[in-house]
Symmetry: C2
Subunit: 345 residues, 2 copies
């Protein structure tokens, strides 16, 4: 139907617009469905004390990964990490995954084994069980669809919608590294394509390359917060980029936010890569996706409890009802953060 008169390209809506359109008009008609689309996971009633959490993510060759530099083992690992990260973002624990793959006849049995060795490694690392799945051939390329199931105590579930005015905005780890890693890998690939005699040299970029190829869900942060008895008021995982993801929290919490540019945690390597591409580390932090860090808000009364925790940065605070979202530079100038998202259409 390419080029037919009167038809609308999906790109005119973007991914978030498309999801809104798809889910519009669907209602939770079954008892026991606490939360449908619109958060990191669907939430279902389990028993007296627990909710069941469900989430699903797909990765497609040529869109989410490039086999010329991403080993299949890492792709399998990453597919699991990105799903486990969604369970973490609800403050839950993952228990199992369903894995479906489609692949063309270009893939040998050894290649599929390699992919599943990464899935297996991730199951070991996160202590989760492979529950089932499906396999199919495809006309071109590889795609992987993972569904994760987990659980959370009913009084511990955290949605995107609970942030209040004056809450502190926190983020785990550092940001922009996955994008920096992607840039380095693409640069080396281009060099290689132009001159196949060249060996890729990733020396000095090991950290950002690992951030891109083998991200880890921050199950450790969920454990740390629980240990110091801090329950975030809102939470999301950073898969699309900080600017998109803070907007999700603000939209669903009906609040604004101010982020401080000089508080954004950015690794030295990320800075270095960003500068070599005529950008800045904080731009990468704001717009780079796939970091799989946790972005969350806490009451200011919890500030003292957070202080002793490693690897958590306070980067801003929530503002009043339906206020804008600003990023403030060190000189005090503010720029409004607007929906950018991560559009692969």
């Amino acid at each position: 139907m390419e080029g037919n008169i009167g038809l609308t390209p999906v790109s005119s809506l973007g991914e978030f617009g498309l999801i809104d359109r798809i889910t519009e008009g669907f209602s939770a008609r079954n008892p026991g469905i606490i939360k449908g689309p619109g958060d990191d996971c669907a939430v279902l009633d389990k028993d007296e004390s627990f909710y069941t959490l469900l989430s699903t993510d797909i990765m497609a060759e040529g869109v989410h990964f490039d086999l010329s530099y991403a080993p299949l083992k890492h792709i399998g690992y990453k597919a699991v990490s990105s799903n486990v990260s969604d369970i973490s973002a609800m403050n839950g624990r993952s228990t199992g995954i369903l894995v479906s793959i489609g692949f063309s006849n270009r893939f040998s049995l050894e290649a599929i084994d390699e992919l599943f060795s990464g899935i297996r490694a991730a199951c070991d690392f996160y202590n989760i069980t492979l529950l089932g799945g499906d396999t199919s051939s495809s006309r071109q390329g590889l795609f992987i669809s993972v569904t994760v199931v987990g659980e959370v105590e009913k009084d511990k579930v955290v949605y995107r919608s609970g942030a209040q005015e004056h809450d502190l905005i926190c983020v785990s780890g550092n940001l922009g590294g996955a994008l920096a890693g992607l840039k380095v890998l693409q640069r080396e690939k281009d060099l290689f394509l132009n001159n196949p005699g060249i060996q890729p040299d990733l020396t000095g970029f090991e950290f950002v390359v690992e951030r891109q190829l083998k991200p880890e869900a921050r199950t450790d942060i969920i454990a740390s917060l629980s240990e110091v008895a801090v329950l975030p008021t809102a939470m999301i995982d950073i898969s699309d980029g900080l600017s998109s993801d803070i907007l999700h929290i603000c939209k669903q919490s009906k609040r604004g936010a101010v982020l401080y540019q000089n508080k954004l945690p950015v690794d030295y390597e990320t800075d270095k890569v960003a500068e070599s591409f005529q950008s800045t580390g904080s731009t990468y932090a704001l717009n780079g996706g796939e970091d799989y860090e946790l972005l969350f808000t806490v009451s200011i009364h919890d500030f003292e409890k957070l202080k002793g925790l490693k690897d958590i940065s306070v980067i801003g605070h929530m503002t009043g009802t339906n206020s804008p979202v600003y990023i403030e530079a060190s000189d005090g100038t503010q720029m409004e953060v607007i929906a950018q998202g991560w559009s692969h259409f």
Copy 2:
């Protein structure tokens, strides 16, 4: 890696072999996992009275459907039906689905709307909720991954593994229709490709075409069995074909079976199509996939209770421990049914 020395084509294993290989060595390490891979659904502990059921299926363009004759609305509907059918096969009720789609820029917004209108129609029909999902672009074609969640009373769950010697083998509806529909659609497509002036004529084949394009999960059979208080000893849905699926039951129940060729329920249209392709209705019934009927075994003591139920045929009986599976013709000759499966690699 095409053609590299020492690499093994996946087709050498087949789909079932591949699944065995993938799931080998994975163990259920989390408490509350009752059943992992190897049945129609994974089974998880829910509460005192219920289990949670999970299953996932993928459909890829050019493998599971052909957009030249399958309307997108029907593809959406079928993707849901095939998943709900897996919940039925555990004697459960579906409550919700997660839907992930990947599609190339050939697909307009109107096309995606059409796909979801079918998904919506199926959600209405089966009374289930869209819980979430994911969207991605793809380099080529459309793929759809659906995960279904459901539940079943703990004392009502039915596995593939419970069939006993002398149990009756039953099937719902009639078989081979989906394959017959596919053959008719492919024939009309070929005629059209050879002579674009020709209008496809499906008159007289409406039933089998609908079986292929818009199958329905037999949630009604689950309700009927419950009404007459018959609990199957083993059950599976017929997605790969009767011969494959009876072998799954026999393998997991460690029993043999005899099926009677003249008892196989075959519709008049299926017979007619099969004959026009120099085959027979019972061959289609044995080897055609995608009928989404239920194949189940019941104790002979339940025979009287079944008699009043519509749309259920007794087609054979289970035999002793690790016996072969035979299909018996009307003249008494027996042929062994061997693993054939539905291989799309």
